[in-house]
Amino acid sequence: MSGRGSTAAVSGNVQARLGAFSLQTGNFSWPLDGITALFGRSGCGKSTLLRAIAGLIPRASGTLRVGEALWLDGRRQTPAPKRDVGYVFQDAALFPHLSVRGNLHFAASRAPKGEAPAAIDQVAAEVGIAHLLDRRIAALSGGEKQRVAIARALLSRPRLLLLDEPLAALDWKAKDELLELIGQIARTQRLPMVLVSHAPEEIERLAQRVVFMQDGRILRIEPLTEALMRADSPLFDRLGPVAVLEGEATPLAEGLAQLRIDGSLLTFPAAAEPGRVRLRIYARDVALARSVPTDISMLNHLPARICGFAASRPGHSLVRLCLADGQGLWSEITTPARDALRLAEDEAVVALIKAASVER
């Protein structure tokens, strides 16, 4: 939690009571940059906290500071229209009596110092809805609605973008495209975001840090890579532990790209677009060898050091690997395999990864 104490942070301690549910965050602070994910089971209070940050919980109390601004002080609240936030709702919440352009104009005309109409066309192009501007809201698909909602939120010139499960109602293809779009906006516009999600995949692809919540409380706030290095991380689903590797990608021919990790290269399936990428690799897709094997279809051979072991399902063992550049990786192997290789902590191994199993 590097942001504690500095001004460029989201910090405070928020209480709210809604019927039988009560939000009691305890003291919290995270840096006001990148994408912060609020994660927990449904009913854990992550959406309530997001709404409190937006000023949509009239009876919230406590303190909430975003950057220099004190938005909640005891029972005194800065009203939602006076907070510099954008909010993207799960169901988009577009105004049905206005066209797409009308929705965007609603935001642009109320933004600080106004916005030239050209800004609408520019943002619409960035978000990929330029061809939809004169459509009625009812004529949009789910993915298109969320794009319009994102464009609308951006046009009000927020300093913090809040996203409340924006992908939950979408099919996988639209979800994939929007994940890409959200990540791209966060990078290019340097707009800090808070993303509520119960889907680990969304968090693993987008977030820099994770706020774990349970029963209305914040359990802990961790950088994503740290959160993924706990063998019992709540982010792991039925497919088991997963690690993320980040780096600069260089396109390769035929729908493949390569990620440079220190001295070695990791090949993965991707469209040819260079730039920073994040890859997800499941423990079950990583095999271990004592030396670089030859005559094998798995071309990804990453030198690694064994940093630790953890319990896994019966008959299996989890091996935590540290790569040359400090990034972490999980490997799940069977207990007989572990015994046969006589693996021990701090030893050098080679991680074998099937390129086709690597996901964005």
Binding site: R51, P81, R83, D91, A93, H97, A107, S156
Partner: protein, 230 residues
Amino acid sequence: MTLFGYPLDLGPLWLTLQVASIATAILLVPGMALAWWLANWRSPLRAVVEAVVALPLVLPPVVLGFYLLVFLNPQGWVTQTLHSLGYEGQLTFNKIGLIIGSVVYSLPFMVQPLLRAFESLPRNLLDAAATLRAGWWDRFFNVVLPLSRGGLIVALTLTFAHTVGEFGVVLMVGGNIPGKTRVVSIDIYNHVEAMEYAQAHMLSALMLVFAVIVLTIVYGLYRHGNKEHG
């Protein structure tokens, strides 16, 4: 004026439209405020207030008119208080009485459709508007009203039409004074009492045509509005 050779007094017709228009206009803003307040009020007491507002729907109009007559009588405290403040006239058996009676009688017809419209507004549209820097009045005029257009049209029409058609309340509070408080419905009743069926027919037919025209316009507007909203 004569129609088909029969004399027709347009006075009651004119008075009816006047009273209905004024009562509807008076009810518009307080009706909206009351409906908005009820739609957002989370309290067990809300049922009581809703019941009181809906009372004129179930109470026989004559009963309502009787209580109003008692309440507003020239010796009553309401009129006496107004007199002490310099008001010379009275609140019954004149146009003011008719309007007061109409306003009370028609209140639920203004409030109920608006209440339903406000309740069915998706809350997150208002939240979205708030996060887009729209203040309360901004949200009300640019989100609430456009999305409640159907309910507003129904409320205005029902209020106006019911005021036009009322009988019991105006008879009790207004009396039956020719040229002063005699509205169309009472006029028709008088013609029937006097066996003047031709005049009763003409007035009734006028009311019928008027009702059909008003409803056609309203449903046309309502459908158009809904189509726009998808």
